[in-house]
Symmetry: C2
Subunit: 421 residues, 2 copies
């Protein structure tokens, strides 16, 4: 029987140890984990092979099998990634602000770990190492719950982590894994507010919704992107085409890929056939409004164009489909984005200073782009060194979450036997 | 019928207007509200008199009646407070960080309003003005739900605010009030995640629990303080006594008041009779562990001392009661605080540099004090200019929440038709 209260209590206790470690101690633990990954590569690969065999027997498609798969190169990559996390700057301990109050009390805000994290994720086994190492780097304990397809791989990786933690004298409960596949345990984890401080779901819209609905613990939601680019009448149309192509086709299955193209009516007749011709080279299908259909009916550049259905502008396509709509103005583009965006990644392609400024001021998505692909909304691209998740909510963290998003702060007030008047 | 979806939609639409106002426009609105409060003071007082009459008829005790009461001086105070909010610096628009990425994209994080706030609060009518003005200052729309005891007062104040908003040409839906007393509407508000970005409960533990349990919107919880002071063996005992007195008796009904006094065993025989003698002057009753009882049995300085019951160290007393426990070391004090604190306000009274450092590093409460009263954990005392709430959770904001806690940020990326390689 999985006793989450026992796990939670152990995680909380471990978090007290982790929270007062020096950066050197945490980095030593991470390097020990990297070494252990290499030392136990054969065991990890053997367990992964069992997962893969099961998945294949169940008829899992090759594309998904590839996501589940570990091989020698990928395991070496896990060790290398762990060493990279060790090399990142440690945000814990930073004095965010400090001053002397008028009464002489010295007041500061000091960055501290959040405490205990609960992370629920889907198939890929590398997330196990990713989240565990980022949690340790920031002094947090973590309770992991991964997808059942890679259960044996995940357990092997957690065993590697715990073995390394033991070698450097740190509590193994710093990284725990909910092994029992019973889904009721997810619901229980979401209500373990006595011990868990933050829930991070890494998966689809259904998982995020489940967490928001059921959790009594603060949840970081995000990762769902209905992303827009608006082509202004002033845009450099030739140069706009590769940006749209990049946003749509570079990696269509991810959350910062483009979903809807808004085009100013004045340039639509010139622009739509060109962009359609380019996108069709990558196999993109368009879903267009009637006025855009009318233009593309004359010249679609060989592209497949279907009429946009009533819900097509509320779709995160995650595939080679792109909604196309004409607008009369930047304000109509803003209104469309406000009505349909998930506030993940939205941008304007323009050469008009006023329109760019107006768009950036009016659109409050997690990342707002001017003359750049939505694909840049990413912790690595934004220089954060690591990415825990991409948040689209308003509290705590927005957009790509780096190490800092795994920390909070406390106020420290130093007096000389001060009393409040 | 109260249609929360309509209210939510109107609030969201209003938030788009509020989010792009200049500081001057927002401050003009606040000054108009202050003027309107003064102009309509008689109406507000008449409505409040009806609330007070009803409350008195229901047998409400005088202390609570005083919390509900408005009079000419208090209404003048509401106008003055509103002008103070207008005079505060506006956090919106701040560039939190900005740099040029290696690829030439100019990346910054810009502070923006959260959007739409939902605030659920108890009796005092001044909270209506307080929250509405802080929301407007930060460009947020707000949906208010106050206590039924002051419904007419709250509605009169919201009418004043909406009249002022209309005068300056701003949408009245910026500040809305749920008038229908049906409690089902609270549950509905907590699930209005399509339109509301953050829930702030201002009330007792039951309200906070309800919000955590039922909300699909991020909730700021806090306001519940089981607060500790630890008297180290090295403390200046004479000077420690007024600090403990201040923490316990200056305003015992609030969340940063002292609940548990931990005393190092080495100084207990000398210290406890003195502190008990001082506290009894203010009517404090002690709840002591057996070893503390034994000392106080010889000399309690006239204080009433009862044996501490099994749950007494998990009580937020909110009254003139103080738990007393002896400990053998700073580590035992830390362990007790970790087990029993709500992480609101905890402190050490010491003259030992090592123990103070150890305590501050180990205790991660929202505010940690060295040689100062826990009563300082307050937005005004910490120089924030305003206090929205006191958070004890780990995400978004901790401790006193000033205007900045009503904001979030967006990433703004300015390129020159950049594509991701």
């Amino acid at each position: 029987m999985t006793d989450l209260v026992t796990m939670g209590h152990a995680a909380r206790t471990a978090s007290y140890t982790l929270g007062t470690l020096t950066t050197a101690q945490k980095d030593a633990a991470l390097l020990a984990i990297a070494d252990e990954i290499e030392a136990q590569a054969a065991t990890v690969l053997a367990q992964n092979a069992l997962d893969i065999a099961d998945a294949r027997a169940k008829g899992t498609v090759e594309a998904l099998l590839d996501r589940l798969l570990l091989n020698e190169r990928r395991v070496a990559g896990l060790a290398a990634d762990t060493r990279k996390v060790a090399a990142l700057p440690d945000p814990v301990g930073e004095e965010i602000e400090g001053r002397v109050l008028p009464n002489g009390i010295r007041l500061s805000r000091r960055r501290i770990p959040i405490g205990v994290l609960g992370v629920i994720y889907e198939a890929r086994p590398n997330v196990t190492i990713d989240i565990a190492t980022l949690s340790l780097k920031t002094g947090n304990a973590v309770i992991l719950r991964g997808g059942s397809e890679t259960l044996r791989s995940n357990l092997a990786l957690v065993a590697v982590i715990q073995a390394a933690l033991a070698k450097v004298g740190l509590p193994q409960a710093a990284v725990q894994y909910i092994e029992n596949p019973d889904r009721a345990l997810v619901a229980e984890l979401l209500r373990l507010d006595k011990y868990v401080d933050m829930i991070i779901p890494r998966g689809g819209a259904g998982l995020h919704r489940l967490c928001r609905e059921q959790s009594t613990i603060p949840v970081i939601t995000g990762g769902i992107g209905i992303c827009h680019l608006y082509v202004d009448a002033s845009a450099d149309l030739e140069r706009a085409i590769p940006v749209i192509e990049n946003a749509k086709v570079q990696r269509p299955s991810v959350c910062n890929a483009l979903d809807t193209l808004l085009v100013h009516r004045h340039v639509a007749a010139e622009f739509l056939p060109k962009v359609a011709a380019r996108l069709t080279q990558s196999g993109v299908t368009l879903r267009a409004t009637p006025d855009a259909m009318a233009i593309l009916a004359k010249d679609a550049g060989g592209a497949t164009v279907l009429p946009a259905g009533p819900d097509d502008f509320d779709q995160e396509w995650l595939s080679l489909v792109l909604g196309v709509k004409l607008v009369d103005s930047v304000d109509e583009a803003i209104a469309h984005i406000r009505a349909h965006s998930t506030e993940h990644s939205d941008g304007i392609l323009t050469n008009d200073w006023g329109n760019a400024t107006h768009f950036v001021n009016a659109i409050n998505s997690a990342a707002v782009f001017v003359n750049a692909s939505t694909r840049f909304n990413d912790g690595g691209q934004f220089g954060l060194g690591a990415e825990v998740a991409v948040s689209t909510q308003k509290l705590h963290a927005r957009g790509p979450m780096g190490l800092e998003a795994l920390t909070t702060y406390k106020w420290v007030a130093i007096g000389d036997m001060h009393i409040r008047p």
